[in-house]
């Protein structure tokens, strides 16, 4: 997987409800190489913050040379708070594209599930499935509350059902609840979101005999597979260290749910 360091220029940025930001960047080299489900390492400008922030590609356009990142500001004085202040014309350093991304099984009916800040990467996947007519798809999005960022865009791509923790929109509960309530069916699940949601989806897929691919999250340092910070436990020996630790940044972030301990 080829990757490159690139100084990106901010094309525009807007807030998508409270604490969620939608950042469009000019980064032609990365855009050219990108695949849905991959991420970029975003380097803070603040000199005392050393570690890159891994942010998934919510979209990219190789022709336009642009990337789209949708991210949550996690708190005060954080790197993401710094990113939220970027304005058109500002620059920000990236390394990417990183990770494996989603590989869609052609012809197998897909259920795309996003939960919380796992919603953004599913958008590019949904768009590509539709554009390349890879398979049928149903989209299931789990939100915290009424702030259903990106939902309108998902609805333009395919049938979309929704859940929210507080019941403000769609089914009250999690994505699984929305799947059940709406009788969503399919052959494969592609998912990104909090661990409990991924665990529930794996169990659901197991019960139904479906395959399930999940995108994982872990603290990172190098972002490229060298430092072994970001491992998740795997069911079989990993290819790197002969133990049972797969690197989320390099072996993932997307794994077959049966490959890893959730």
């Amino acid at each position: 997987m080829q990757k490159t360091e690139e100084m990106a220029t901010v094309l525009e940025q807007q807030a998508l409800g409270s604490n969620i930001f939608d950042l469009k960047l000019k980064a032609p080299q990365i855009a050219k190489l990108a695949k849905a489900g991959q991420f970029v390492s975003v380097y803070p400008n603040r000199a005392d913050k050393l570690l890159p922030r891994p942010i998934s590609l919510c979209g990219f356009d190789p022709k336009e040379g642009s990337l789209r990142l949708v991210y949550r500001v996690t708190g005060e004085h954080t790197g993401t708070e710094e990113f939220s202040r970027l304005q058109a014309g500002d620059t920000i350093r990236l390394l990417g594209p990183l990770g494996n991304g989603f590989t869609v099984e052609p012809g197998k009916k897909a259920i795309l599930v996003g939960g919380g800040i796992g919603v953004p990467p599913m958008l590019e996947l949904a768009k590509q499935i539709k554009a390349q007519q890879l398979c049928e798809q149903t989209i299931v999005m789990g939100y915290r509350d009424a702030n259903t960022f990106l939902l309108d865009e998902f609805e333009q791509v395919a049938t979309t059902v929704v859940s929210s923790d507080d019941g403000a929109v769609g089914t009250k509960g999690t994505a699984i609840d929305a799947i059940l309530a709406n009788h969503v069916t399919g052959d494969v699940i592609y998912a990104c979101g909090p661990k409990p949601m991924l665990r529930a989806l794996r169990d659901y897929a197991r019960a139904k005999g479906m395959r399930c691919f999940v995108s994982m999250e872990e603290r990172m340092a190098c972002g490229i597979g060298a430092c072994l910070a970001c491992v998740c436990q795997s069911t079989h020996e990993d290819g790197h260290s002969n133990v049972k630790n797969k690197r989320v940044c390099a072996d993932g972030p997307v794994f077959d749910a049966e490959e890893i301990e959730l």
Partner: protein
């Protein structure tokens, strides 16, 4: 300017290096992952992630946390074991025109010696013995905080080693010069320092440790002044050469370390925020030498006293 000829090559324990720049163990894998970003041929040497006689699984996650101008890690020396290392990583590295320094870890004297023996007949240039990892319970740090044990392990390793031995020192000690002298007395060909400083971060919102291991090793620019001080103290105390490391993130930092007494320098944490920093430092050292008309880098080693 360009007519002024400079020499950046150094001799390290009898091994000629095209320049004094290497990477700090554990921050660069075996170079493979960085090889499409950095031209490994540019580096004086590649120092590999610690390798043991069998695979180690390391610590639970989270394994890293960010601190002000630094980071904590508690990887716990996850590694594939010496067999895979030789087959895969060493074979990979030998494709490049750069020296190979293999960092060795173990839980006991026997384990260290085992790895050293396995590497004896390979094409490895130097061995760096990590007696200073604060993130594993047995071995590692115990050897690195007691001069007697450090001397004993140095001797044991030297008996079997065919390559020059670099003992890697922990900064978590009262007297770093004493530790270096103990390694020298045990027969070490060189010392490298500093490994990480033991630190801790607490997440005040979740009211829990930021690392699963509670403590971790601090590295990055924050620790640079401590590293420079220790390299200086060790340079005054022993006659064997030093690989200086700890927070090197720019040409200035590397030169500072050399002026303090290091023959070679390793770049660690800086690779994480600037993946091509090693190349920049190699070039930057040349610029510095031209600017100040220093013909031979060896004239800078320990030049500030």
């Amino acid at each position: 300017m360009s007519e002024f000829n400079i020499n950046t090559a150094v001799d390290f324990c009898g091994i000629p290096m095209k320049n004094p720049v290497t990477v700090a163990s554990g921050t660069f894998g075996s170079g493979m992952e960085y090889s499409d970003l950095v031209d490994l041929n540019v580096l004086g040497a590649v120092t590999t992630k610690g390798v043991a006689n069998h695979p180690w699984a390391g610590n639970p996650t989270p394994r890293v946390a960010e601190t002000k101008s630094g980071m904590l890690n508690a990887i716990g020396l996850q590694n594939p074991g010496i067999d895979t290392f030789i087959e895969r990583d060493l074979a990979f590295l030998k494709q490049y025109d750069t020296r190979v320094i293999v960092n060795v870890c173990g839980h006991s004297e026997e384990e260290y010696v085992d790895v050293v023996e396995r590497l004896a007949d390979t094409d490895v240039d130097l061995l760096e013995i990590n007696i200073s990892c604060p993130n594993v319970k047995e071995g590692g740090i115990a050897f690195g905080q007691d001069p007697k044990q450090a001397m004993a392990i140095t001797k044991a390793v030297k008996t079997k080693a065919k390559q020059p031995i670099i003992m890697k020192l922990s900064p978590n000690v009262t007297d770093i010069a004493e530790m270096a002298r103990a390694c020298e007395a045990g027969g070490a060909d060189a010392v490298s320092l500093i490994n990480t400083l033991t630190g801790m971060k607490i997440d005040i919102h979740r009211r829990t440790f930021a690392l699963a291991n509670k403590t971790g090793g601090m590295s990055g620019p924050a620790v640079h002044p401590i590293a420079v001080r220790m390299v200086y103290q060790v340079a005054q105390a022993v006659n064997i050469p030093i690989i200086g490391m700890g927070g090197i993130a720019s040409t200035e930092d590397a030169i500072e370390m050399i002026l303090a007494g290091a023959t070679m320098v390793s770049v660690g944490t800086a690779n994480f925020f600037d993946p091509t920093i090693t190349q920049k430092i190699v070039a930057g050292i040349e610029d510095y030498m031209r600017k100040y008309q220093i013909a031979d880098i060896r004239d800078l080693i320990g030049a500030v006293r």
